[in-house]
């Protein structure tokens, strides 16, 4: 019993004094961020899209599908992209119901080292195709969704 009390006291002392308070500014705890891939097609139905994204200062850890039923499955990507900061995403809708307007077509999960601040994804090689398979200009962006922090 005495040994048990001694052990509990020792544990309490370690908890109380073992971890001195740290400066929060100096802490770089890893954090998670969720980035939304958003396409604005205007009035044109979206049949397929592709995009290359580089997120400097972060590591990609997951890819999720989008909101419209046609793009609910996760887009195609090279598995080697995970644990890196660059990824090429591509998805096509094979059904007849094609969405249009401002659409969240995918979601990226990234980890940061806590010191990155706001991530600024760089986009390249964006392609969007309409219901005839023709390429058309659409506005694509990758923005923080505010989830998962």
């Amino acid at each position: 019993m005495i040994a048990f009390r001694l052990l509990v006291t020792l544990a309490a002392a370690l908890l109380a004094f073992g971890n001195p308070p740290q400066d929060p500014a100096a802490t770089h705890a890893p954090g998670f961020q969720v980035l939304d891939v958003v396409v604005d097609t205007g009035a044109i139905p979206l049949a397929a899209w592709q995009l290359e994204v580089t997120v400097e200062g972060a590591l990609l850890v997951g890819v999720e599908g989008g909101e419209p039923a046609a793009f609910r499955d996760a887009p195609r990507y090279d598995p080697k992209a995970l644990q890196g900061d660059r990824i090429v995403l591509a998805a096509l809708a094979v059904g007849d119901e094609l969405p249009r307007g401002k659409l969240r077509v995918a979601r990226l999960h990234v980890t940061t080292n806590g010191s990155s601040g706001n991530l600024t994804p760089v986009l390249r090689s964006a392609v969007t195709a309409d219901a005839e398979g023709r390429r058309f200009e659409a506005h694509l962006e990758v923005q923080a969704s505010g989830e998962g922090r």
């Binding site: 592709q50 090429v88 096509l92 398979g133 023709r134 390429r135």
Partner: protein, 126 residues
């Protein structure tokens, strides 16, 4: 000792029993033959040399073409994959889009195109 040498020795000794009647003509004939053989050998050597250079150039060209094929710019995109998946691709594009090489465009080709589109391997257009 070859025939030409024998005749030349006889020409200067004039006493060899095997000396033909027209010694000088024989010497000239054999000389021509030797010269012709020398020319043939040189020509053969030149052909071998040209052939070696051509073969080396062909190997270098093949390597270069292979590198280009492996490192080609991104000419395929998701719009191509979609048209192939929906059967809307132009038959004129078969050579470019038939990645399975079976002579027809189908879902397997669309799948391969998508794989190529998202591949992270280095490309020359980067």
């Amino acid at each position: 000792m070859d025939d030409l040498e024998k005749l030349l020795r006889a020409r200067f000794r004039q006493d060899a029993p095997e000396v033909p009647a027209d010694l000088d003509a024989a010497i000239v004939g054999l000389g021509h033959e030797a010269a012709a053989g020398h020319v043939r050998r040189r020509r053969r050597l030149r052909l071998v040399r040209i052939g070696s250079v051509a073969a080396a150039a062909a190997i270098v060209a093949l390597c270069w073409l292979g590198t280009r094929a492996l490192d080609e710019p991104r000419t395929l995109d998701v719009a191509d994959a979609w048209r192939v998946a929906r059967g809307l691709a132009d038959p004129d594009e078969t050579a470019r889009l038939d990645l399975t090489g079976d002579g027809r465009l189908d879902a397997a080709d669309a799948d391969r195109i998508l794989d190529r589109v998202v591949s992270l391997r280095p490309r020359r257009d980067r």
